[in-house]
Every structure is written in structure tokens, then in C-alpha cells.
Amino acid sequence: MASNGMKIAIVGGGLAGLAAAMKIAEGGHAVDLFSVVPVKRSHSVCAQGGINGAVNTKGEGDSTWEHFDDTVYGGDFLANQPPAKAMCEMAPAIIYLFDRMGVPFSRTNEGLLDFRRFGGTKHHRTAFAGASTGQQLLYALDEQVRRWEVNGKVRKFEHWEMLSLVLDEHQVCRGLIAMNLQTLELKAFPADAVIIATGGPGLIFGKSTNSMVCTGSAVSACYQQGARYANGEFIQVHPTSIPGEDKLRLMSESARGEGGRVWVPRNKGDVRPPSSIPEQERWYFLEEKYPAYGNLVPRDIATREIFQVCIDGMGIGGENQVYLDLTHIPAETLDRKLGAILEIYEMFVGDDPRHVPMRIFPGVHYSMGGLWVDNNQRTNVPGLLAAGECDYSIHGANRLGANSLVSCVYGGFIAAPAAIEYAKNVERNGADGSRIYDQELKHQQEINDRLIAQSGDENQYVLHQEMGKWMTDNVTVVRYNEKLKATDNKLLELMDRYKRISINDSNLWATMALPHARHLDNMLELARVITLGALNRNESRGAHYKPEFPDRDDENFLKTTIAEFSGEGPVFSYEPVDISLIPPRKRDYSKGKKETAKA
């Protein structure tokens, strides 16, 4: 067992959670790891393109400072700068560590790590393992954590879902309540510190590029128990996804990093097949508008441009789709560098992207917002830390491609020692401590019992669909205050109707219905945070765009949005952004950075 019997609980077994688990176990301490799916099946597997780190092996004069500058510039200066800088400085060591763990990164002729270009930078800074980098990195951590499991340091609780934190009378986190997803048994798990690493809340938007576990439910539970939620309104819509009935499948930015070009026919209503449209009759609108970065402008910009082209009726066949064209690149190169994502397109659409341009459209992808944390990944609740997409740090108003994997690992690596440090010094509850666990357990059981017993006429899946449609229509690429207000009213209506749902499954063994009902409740709370945060921010910055307020307004809004839960809805306040290292400047991707620095 651990020195002094310390126990740290980690919720979420994706890249951030596993990174933290590995570090804590390596430090000789015990970890309880909770995940709703076997950790190897976490959403991190969906990351495709790569992981950023400035190693400058291409002789382009890249540096960790340049990476840092690209990150805060891409994030439209809303990120606190010291943690972003620290992440960029750690990034090369993170890539090298994964290299040592055996991740099959693509190589150069000398056998060194190869790097490719990604959006928002002019440098080859992205290490990659084919086009399934997230899968490969997650597996490497999964393997290392399995090793610690064999060594007795890590206990996995897979198919267990966290429902709430256990807080003592001083609002200090003392552990959590989790539910066994087969038996529905609830159990209290005492812990000296809890790290939340549960990823993003994409399912609030119904269909997104996220996996089905990305409900944001555990994070919302923390928020409702007093954790502050920051910059919720900043939701990244990825420019290139494949629309589907059940989800929007990601088409990685690496497709553009390797030379993919976005275009539509110049003539509205041109219905010829793409190969019959001559070069001069194609409109490469990103290259035309942004000569410096071309197809590799940051995601918020590419998304808005594609969106606008389609709104103007210039989409292929007048529909909501544009071409992403790889057909000019040799098939052998494509197979080696992008094989996995081309297979996904082929599998789900039926066309071969090596020979036919892909049809794509933007889709909800990533939350820059999340639990508020300090520079050591600590939330405002003592004993509660957060890492990965579920925390708000690093990315500001827009995340750069291939920065998510590195921020997950960085967050886990910072949270782990911070949790150990806290747990070492925390005063234990003493003999009568068990009361708080019993109380919270009882409270959570009552919620389950009520949901199981009630029989109303509302259908939880229909409510989820309605929420997703309203959020996607009104709280994504283009936002209007009237529509945001209407969306909040809709959310209030859905919350009211939620009280009359019936879970509709008389067999409670391994049911999907009760967990979904719990998620839906939590998603609705978080949806209000996102919507009202957007309503209150009367400017345009990064992924948050309001035609009524088209410019960035540093005077009034260079500040972090903070939402705190109350019975009457979220209460908002703001705190200054730490811009101590790089003074804010206007973003302009039609020019190179050196030119904008001069301007």
C-alpha cells in the first residue's frame, strides 16, 4: 500500500486521467480509477492528426516560445499565459516520453520522429502515428497503467460512473459516489483528493464529433456542488466533419496539413462531378482570403468561412457541404500519412477520397471552457483537481489543432503531483467522518429511486434531441442575442419537462435508461452555462462570434467568464486574464505573424 495510506481517485480514463494515474502510481501512491467504459475505449482514441511539440527537427527556427505564441494568438488572447507557456515547454519531453513507450510515430529517413504541419502555425510541429495518433497515445498510457495495475498501485473501476462528490461541512472534497452500471449499486469511495478527467460535453449539442460518453455529466455534477465553471461559451466547431445520422465523424485537420484543399464550384448550382470542374472554375476560398495560412487558418476561422459559403448558397449543389480535396496527392503518400481517416470516410460515405473529393461540413468538436483551475490544475473546491478537456485552461477562445493531446497529458502531469502534495498535507476527517459518505449516498440513492418510480409522459431521448437541436442551431458558429435568450427559455422548458420523464425500462439490470436520465439532467444545467455565458459576452473572440458585435473588445471582455451554480441558475462573474508574457494584438491570418507584429 501507499506511504501513509494516501488514496487519490481519478475519474475518467482518457489521456489526462491515465497520465495522472501513471504519475501517481510511479510516485508510490494508490489510485482508484473510475471510467464508464474500459479505459482503452475512451474518447481520446478519436483524436487523429497528431500532437504538437516544438522540437525544430526540420530546421525551420521553431521554438517552444513560437509554439506558445501561436497558442495564445490562436486562442485570441483569452488563455492565461503562464500555463500555456509551461505546456509548450513540456511538449517536446511529452512526445519523447511517448516515443520511449513505443508509440509507432511516423519516421524520417534517418529514423527520427517526423513532424507535419497543422492549423494556426507555419511550422512542422506535429508528431503523428499515421492518422490515429490519439488511439496510439491512449494505448501507450493504457499499457503503462495496466503495468501499475499488475504492480498493485492502480485499482480500476470500469463500468462505474461518478454521480457526485462527497463534500464535508467545510466544502472540502473527501471522495465521491459512483454507480455500478450493471447492478445500479451506489457506493461511496473515500479519497484524499479527486482528479476529474472526464473530457468534453459534446453530447449537449446532440450530434458532435464526440464519443457517446462525452456528456459532461460528472463535470456538471461538480459544478452543481460548488466548483466554478469557466469560459463555457467557448465551443469549438471543427471545420471538417462528415455528417451522419448518429454522429458527426471527424475528418482530421491533418488532411489539410498534408496539403488538402477546401473548395466549392465558382458557379452557383454547378452540378458537374468535381473531377469535371476545371481548376479555374473552382473557388479555393480559404486560400484566396487568407494567403498567408491558406487552408491552415485556425479552426474558428475555417469554420465560419465554410458556414458562410453555404449560407450564401455556394455549397455543393446548394447544400451544406464543401469539398475537401486530396486527389492531387499520390495515393501512396495518403495511405502512409492519412490511411486511418481515409478509411473512416470510405467506410461511412462509400467514396474513395484518394480519387473523389470529400464532402464535409463543420461539426461541434471541443470545449475550450471547463472547470476553473489554477496553474496547478486545482479547482476552487479543496481536494478537487481537473485535467484535460474538462478544464478551461490553455486554449483560450479557440484551440489549435494537435494541442488537445498535449494539453491532456500536460494537465495530467501537473495534476498528479499537485494532488499528491495536497493529499499529503490534508487533515483527515477522523472517526466520525463516515457520516458525510452515508448522507451523500442516501441523497444520490433518492434521486435514482425517484427517477425509477416516476411515470410521466415525457421521453428523455426526445428531450435530449430537442436540446441538441436548439444548442446546435443557436449556440454554435453564429450567435444572436435574441436566439440565445430563446434558447435559454427552451432549456428552462426542457428542465420542467424533465421532471415528467419516465425512464421506460422495467428491467433495471444493466439498463441504459437510468444513466441517461442522470446525464440529461446534468447536461441541461451545463447547457444553460454555455448559452448564458454566450449571451453575456457581447463581442466576437475566437470561436464565439456575434454579428451584432463583430469585433474583439479587449476593453470590456478580455476576461474569463466564471459561472457558479445556484438554485435559480448560473451566477456569472469575471476575472482578469493573465497576459503577463505576450501583449494582446489583433488576429489577422491573411498575413504572416511577423507582418502582424509590425502592424
Partner: protein, 250 residues
């Protein structure tokens, strides 16, 4: 390709819990283009009424990434084990028959417990023995060709299609292709090689690599196109050499 009907007929092999018997239930949902099996199951879940019009419990299944990369949604579809996210209705004969994988304990409806596959990974030490996670610089240089072979093995998502297809695998009596391929993945790596004995011993026990009957079903069943038979061949060779050396040492 079958002609497009107005509805999709789906037969699901169900089970209420591990102690109950299996039974078939039929469902019918409206046809839309580009449906996959997951969308069909979601439709049934929303309104769980069977084909005869009777209310029933919603069928239970597992899903996550929906991009055929997490492996969780594997089930038997029209007789073949595959991922339900990438199984498109337009390419399937109707009625579509959905069954849980047969080689693993059946929890409820289409859900099975594949923990034994993860246990196998523990046994074969499918990892690199790191000195530590502190910064020790880059790993060993590697040939892109070796990397590509390792990459193929590294795409295994532990879905279990290979075990479902393997005629030898029954009641967890054989460590199986997936674990053997992971031994290959790490024994090929310059650092992994240094602890290759531990991995070889993991596949040399009674239920080890010699149970392979060379049916070669696994490599055909693998949705990721992993060269499983090549891994078995290579590791067979490695274990023979290892066994011989061990015997000489005695």
C-alpha cells in the same frame, strides 16, 4: 445491393440478465438512407415497441466512438462479428439479425463482458518497461518500415472479432491472436526486446500459442486488417527458439 424498402426489419437476440434464457424479438423502424445499426438501435430505444406492436424493454447495447476505433460496439450482425457503428443498413440483407458475441459472458441483450481480453494483455506484459516517466530524451531511432509493421499491430482495439471467429477459442481456453499480436508489437521494439522473455512466457503456458489450429479465421475477421497470422508465425518461431535455449540452459 438489396432494394430499398420503406422499413428496416431487425431481429434481436435478447437476454434479460445472465441467469435468464435468450430469446428473439422482432422490431421494425422507418427506413432512412445511410442508417447504421447504432441509429436503428437508438430509434428502437426511443420508442421500445416490437413489431407486433407490444411495448417491451429497450434493447441494451454498448457504443462509444461510433468511428470503429474504440471497439466497444462489436456484435454479431447477420452471422458475422463486427462493429455495429460501421455496419450500414443499405449494405445488409433484411431482416437484419443482431446477436451478442457468443464467446464471452452475455450480460444483457447485446452486451458481453470482454474483461478476459484485458486480462490476457496483463499476462503477456504488453507494455514497455519504462525506467521512469522523467525526461530521458527521445526513444531509439527506428526504420519507417518497422514502424509501419508495429503500427499495424498497434491498431488493435481489443474488440474480440478474432476470438469470436477462432474455432479453437472456447471458454477462455486459449490466449488468442490479439494477445499474441501485442507480444509481437513489443518484442519488435528495440527497448521492448530487452524484456521479451516475460512476454514469451505469457504465451507459452498450457493455453498459449500452441493452441492455434491455423484456421486463419482471425486475420479475415479483423476489422483493422491486422496481420494476425504473421504475428502468430513470428511468435511461434520466437517461442520455439526461446524454449530450446531454455532447455539447453537446464
Amino acid at each position: 445491393m438489396p432494394s430499398q424498402p420503406k422499413t428496416v426489419e431487425i431481429h434481436i437476440r435478447r437476454r434479460a440478465n445472465p441467469d435468464s434464457p435468450q430469446y428473439w424479438e422482432q422490431f421494425e423502424i422507418p427506413y432512412r438512407p445511410n442508417l447504421n445499426i447504432i441509429s436503428c438501435l437508438m430509434e428502437i430505444q426511443k420508442n421500445p415497441v416490437n413489431k407486433a406492436g407490444a411495448r417491451t424493454t429497450p434493447p441494451v447495447w454498448q457504443m462509444n466512438c461510433l468511428e470503429q476505433v474504440c471497439g466497444i460496439c462489436t456484435m454479431i450482425i447477420n452471422g458475422r462479428a463486427r462493429q455495429s457503428c460501421s455496419a450500414l443498413v443499405d449494405n445488409l440483407d433484411q431482416p437484419i439479425k443482431l446477436e451478442p458475441m457468443a464467446k464471452f459472458p452475455n450480460i444483457r441483450d447485446l452486451v458481453v463482458d470482454r474483461q478476459q481480453m484485458f486480462d490476457h494483455l496483463r499476462r503477456v506484459h504488453a507494455w514497455i518497461e519504462l525506467d521512469g516517466t522523467h525526461d530521458l530524451g527521445p526513444g531509439p531511432r527506428m526504420d519507417q518500415e518497422d514502424v509501419q509493421e508495429r503500427y499495424a499491430y498497434s491498431r488493435c482495439m481489443t474488440c474480440g472479432c478474432c476470438l469470436e471467429a477462432c474455432p479453437q477459442y472456447e471458454g477462455d481456453n486459449y490466449i488468442g491472436p490479439q494477445a499474441i499480436a501485442q507480444v509481437r508489437l513489443f518484442n519488435m521494439h528495440p527497448s521492448g526486446k530487452m524484456t521479451r522473455q516475460e512476454r514469451l512466457e505469457g504465451i507459452m503456458q498450457e493455453d498459449g500459442i500452441t493452441n492455434c489450429g491455423n484456421a486463419q479465421n482471425c486475420v479475415k475477421a479483423c476489422p483493422m486488417g491486422i496481420p494476425l497470422t504473421r504475428a502468430i508465425y513470428e511468435e511461434n518461431r520466437e517461442t520455439v527458439v526461446h524454449g530450446l535455449l531454455g532447455w539447453l540452459k537446464d
